[in-house]
């Protein structure tokens, strides 16, 4: 696959905003979009004399995530202060975790973008809890620089998930991030909304270039400001090309330059160097004396194990192995989220054929959801009802075409399948009626029958139309089959 003259090496640092109702160290709301500085209190404003109190819910969500990411969960974890000055950091330090993160090493398997039926594994270094900073807004219109600070976000709990540099392409980075987001939404630990900043990624990128049998590594660059999955992919691609060109020009290796921070400019499609000063920052980490170390008990672990639920990869596997779906189909359903999997499971549990269920969900259900901008929870046809419809099709009570009409009807009416059929004038035709119908057709169309007997399979087609004229409810497939059988027996 890799035709470049280098190997790309990427590690991601992902900041996930945990969906707690209140902040990490105070009782302020974390709801997004409130007017600036309305969700603040003395604690998150860092007023003199205020003290942090840990939100246990954030710890629970971090443990749940760590378990799902196969991380070693620390027995004892503690809080450290990361000291730096910035106006959106009102205490002058961020409460984070330095050397005893709540989640230790782990890994995540994600679908290989180059070979979707297999997976790749990214190993994780750690995942730690920390509080978010506020937001600075710089308004530089009319030549006067005016900065405003919104501290609503200050103190919101973040889980920073740091991967090993195991990712070897921009597509793999994107695929990992996609799987991570899916997993986090399955776990219910974050809404992972990138527009609202609930999921933020920084990429550490460099190249290993084979030269005379040895690998030469280029200086590591941390790319920030990646606000979408596409940005992650594009920025890594861009950075790979840039680093290779730079290496060709300067020959600089990892030994010649410290780690550099560059920001992604999405419009220009380039990374730009950020101030050198920020990289050399000494954060003077030390244990926060306002907080006590936290012992993670067995009870805390088992409480989270119970609520872990099925991971996306387990769901994919189950849909393939137990229900016989193709990997692609399983992935489409699983990628829609846990509620879609539950909906699918509900349809199958009602007795419908899994493959037919998968097809209908991927086509009719998902199209309707998309067209009407609905979530599956809002979908008007319950899984049980759809299952009933698909069983009717499975049993040839109605044909596929009639099935679609019933589906459309059910979108607007809360009705049973028989009621829907009645309302639509769809009547199940019994087999003796079909037999009489077919006999009539044979008697009335000797010419066509002769053609059919001579081996022209298409000839029967004209009879289907005639059959529908005689009885609109006749199932075309059933009529065709019976006609063939009667002709064969002649």
């Amino acid at each position: 696959m890799n035709q470049t003259p280098y190997r790309l090496v990427v590690g991601l640092e992902v900041h996930v905003q945990l969906s707690t109702e209140t902040k990490l160290f105070c009782g302020c709301s974390t709801t997004f979009g409130a007017p600036p500085n309305t969700q603040v209190c003395p604690v998150c404003l860092g007023l003199p004399g205020s003290l942090p109190v840990l939100n246990e819910k954030a710890v629970q969500l971090a443990i749940r995530t760590g378990l799902a990411l196969n991380c070693k969960i620390a027995e004892v974890t503690k809080w450290d202060r990361k000291n730096y000055f910035y106006p959106d950091l009102p205490k002058g330090y961020q409460i984070s975790q330095f050397d005893q993160p709540i989640c230790g090493e782990g890994y995540l398997d994600f679908p290989d973008p180059d070979a979707p039926e297999t997976t790749q594994r990214v190993r994780l270094i750690r995942a730690h809890l920390e509080e978010d900073a506020g937001k600075s807004m710089h308004d530089e219109v009319h030549g006067r620089a005016d900065s405003k600070i919104d501290l609503n976000r200050t103190g919101t709990p973040l889980l920073e998930i740091v991967s090993f540099p195991d990712l070897t392409s921009a597509a793999a980075a994107k695929a990992y991030l996609t799987e991570l987001r899916l997993l986090l939404t399955y776990l219910g630990v974050s809404d992972c909304n990138m527009q609202e900043g609930s999921l933020r990624a920084d990429a550490n990128v460099n190249l290993h270039i084979p030269v005379d049998g040895n690998d030469i590594a280029t200086p590591i660059v941390e790319v920030k400001n990646l606000n979408s999955f596409r940005a992650v992919e594009r920025a890594i691609q861009y950075e790979a090309g840039r680093q290779f060109e730079l290496w060709k020009q300067t020959g600089k290796t990892i030994k010649d330059a410290p780690k550099q921070t560059r920001g992604w400019d999405d419009e220009a499609g380039v990374t730009k160097a950020q101030r050198e000063k920020e990289e050399s920052a000494d954060y003077r980490y030390f244990p926060d004396p306002d907080l006590v170390p936290l012992r993670v008990t067995e009870a805390m672990l088992s409480q989270q194990k119970v609520v872990l639920g099925e991971s996306p990869s387990a769901a994919r596997n189950r849909l393939q192995v137990n229900l016989g779906l193709k990997p692609y189909d399983a992935d489409v359903i699983v990628s829609q989220g846990q509620s879609m999997v539950a909906y699918f499971d509900g349809v199958v549990a009602g007795g419908a054929d899994p493959k037919r269920s998968s097809n209908w969900i991927q086509q009719d259900v998902m199209r309707t959801l998309k067209e009407n901008d609905l979530s599956v929870e809002q979908f008007p046809i319950s899984a049980a009802r759809l299952s009933e419809l698909l069983r009717a099709i499975d049993a040839s009570v109605v044909d596929n075409t009639r099935g679609k009409s019933i589906f459309q009807y059910l979108l607007e009416h809360d009705a049973t399948i028989p009621d829907a059929m009645a309302a639509l004038g769809i009547v199940q035709v019994d087999s003796s009626e079909i037999e009489t119908l077919c006999k009539e057709l044979i008697d009335e169309n000797p010419k066509v029958i002769a053609e059919a007997r001579a081996g022209n399979a298409k000839a029967l087609g004209s009879l289907i139309g005639a059959a529908r004229k005689k009885n609109a409810n006749a199932d075309a497939k059933v009529v065709r089959e019976l006609l063939q059988k009667m002709i064969d027996a002649m």
């Binding site: 004399g49 003290l51 109190v53 009102p90 002058g92 620089a145 900065s147 306002d290 006590v292």
Partner: protein, 501 residues
């Protein structure tokens, strides 16, 4: 009647029995504040008379209504200006917070108010509680009422002065390395630093979070017990506050000391800097304890010689981070940026915002505070943290272990609170190291997290207060107070008001 010499507990009982009204008592002390504060400069901000009287009248009407109030209800108190209090600025005696009005009360302050106490005002201190003389106040130095050319000690100097001069029967301060006990010693009053975590730190403006504790000042040991009883106890807003049941601290005050094992720390008693008169006071206390049935034993704290160095690494490290929030962007002093100052930013390589922060901090914080911020920043920096901060944490553990071992042999430790009686204003202010070295007998209790108390022990030939210190194992405040109360009853000291008229 001279109310200022009564024990607060006695006075409280009189108020409860309506022998005197809260209004009369509050007016009496507020008048003394007005009378003497121009001499001793103990107060930073005082509530106006109307506000004080309104609080007093409320208590009186509750008593009149037959309500059963706390034994301290109706008693006036002063509060060190490091504790947040609504209604007045809370300044930490710093230009940085000169106009800071907290929108909340410290938990300890709230508990006093809930107990029906009448807050008179806020007392002067070394800026951000950094100092041993109250000379580091950004506003003015306070004066020792026993000798006006001497310091009252610090950092809670103003609190000690208000009690010593009879301006208030009670006060609370904070003690990070001796800031309650040393000014109490200098001013001839009792001062207690409780076990770390016993009193909530919520609303106590942080100097060094792992060492800071709130503690009371009074003329009588039983009053220390009564105030501690009110302010001690778990607070869900302070994660480091201990979730333990608080025993009745007053019921055991009169227990006899027979069989009490008292340790005298060799390293303290032999210290070359120890003033002979103080050494004698410790010996006299020893004899007094023996006469009460206690046994005396010599104990060793081998790591004692490292305590000042350890303290002056850990406390500045924490302070450098705790005081980072005073960066002028959100509240507090902000320098007026002249065009000259702004243009400096182009030469300093700082952007205008950084320049504003740097200038504001330079102007808004005093010399000692900046010195400690720099010390702490240095000691936490990459490459130095292992040698200083982390090393200091290890030594802190050793010092705590020394105490633990000593307390296996004895029940309390007796020794000096400070090497000398009150020194002169200006005497040490230009020699910070000499100033720091004075803290050697007090910082250990903070490093080990144990309770410690300083008690008056007579006067020098020159009429300056002498003091001793008692220390006890963690959470043994009741024992400490029992010993102190018995010593007071046996005549170790008699509460005296410094005469200022």
């Amino acid at each position: 009647m001279q109310l200022e010499i009564l024990s607060a507990v006695q006075l409280g009982a009189m108020i409860a029995k309506r022998e005197v009204s809260c209004r009369e008592v509050s007016k009496y002390f507020l008048d003394r504040v007005h009378q003497f504060d121009s001499i001793v400069s103990a107060m930073v901000n005082v509530f106006d008379e109307a506000t004080v009287m309104e609080q007093a009248d409320q208590v009186d009407s509750r008593i009149l209504g037959g309500e059963k109030l706390s034994p301290l209800a109706g008693l006036p108190i002063t509060i060190k200006d490091v504790l947040c209090l609504e209604g007045l600025p809370t300044t930490c005696s710093s230009k940085m917070l000169q106009n800071f009005r907290p929108p909340y009360n410290a938990t300890s302050v709230q508990r006093l108010i809930d107990a029906g106490m009448i807050v008179l005002g806020k007392t002067n201190m070394d800026e951000f509680a950094m100092g041993s003389s109250t000379e580091n106040s950004a506003f003015f130095p306070s004066r020792n009422p026993w000798a006006l050319d001497r310091t009252p000690g610090g950092s809670s100097g103003g609190s000690a002065v208000t009690v010593a001069a009879g301006m208030s029967p009670l006060s609370i301060g904070s003690d990070t390395g001796g800031s309650v006990r040393q000014p109490a010693a200098f001013c001839g009053v009792c001062g207690l630093k409780p076990t770390y975590g016993l009193v909530s730190r919520f609303g106590l403006i942080a100097f060094a979070s792992s060492l800071d504790q709130v503690g009371p000042f009074a003329h009588h040991v039983e009053d220390l017990a009564a105030v501690l009883q009110v302010i001690a106890g778990h607070d869900p807003r302070d994660s480091t506050s201990l979730n333990v049941a608080i025993p009745d601290l007053t019921s055991g005050l009169n227990a006899p000391l027979k069989g009490l094992r008292v340790g005298v720390v060799r390293e303290h008693q032999d210290h070359p800097a120890l003033d002979p008169e103080i050494s004698k006071a410790v010996q006299a206390t020893q004899k007094l304890l023996q006469s009460l049935g206690a046994t005396i034993e010599e104990v060793h704290l081998p790591n004692s010689r490292h305590s000042v160095a350890t303290y002056y690494v850990i406390a500045p490290c924490e302070a450098s981070s705790n005081l980072a929030r005073y960066e002028a962007a959100h509240y507090g002093y902000r320098a007026r940026m002249t065009t000259e100052a702004s243009s400096k930013s182009s030469t300093s390589g700082r952007n205008p915002l950084e320049e504003m922060m740097v200038v504001s901090r330079s102007q808004g914080l005093g010399e000692e505070v900046k010195r400690r911020i720099m010390l702490g920043t240095f000691a936490l920096s990459a490459g130095y943290s292992d040698a200083y901060y982390k090393q200091a944490l290890k030594v802190r553990r050793l010092i705590a272990n020394d105490y633990q071992q000593a307390f296996q042999k004895v029940d309390v430790l007796l020794g000096p609170a400070f090497p000398t009686p009150a020194f002169r204003l200006g005497e040490k202010i230009d020699d910070p190291v000499q100033m720091y070295l004075g803290d050697q007998f007090t910082v250990e209790a903070n490093l080990a997290g144990i309770p410690a108390m300083s008690l008056p022990a007579g006067f020098t030939r020159d009429g300056l207060p002498l003091a001793i210190q008692l220390q006890a194992p963690q959470l043994q405040e009741a024992r400490l107070l029992n010993v102190g109360h018995q010593l007071q009853r046996a005549g170790l000291f008699e509460p005296k008001i410094a005469g200022l008229v």
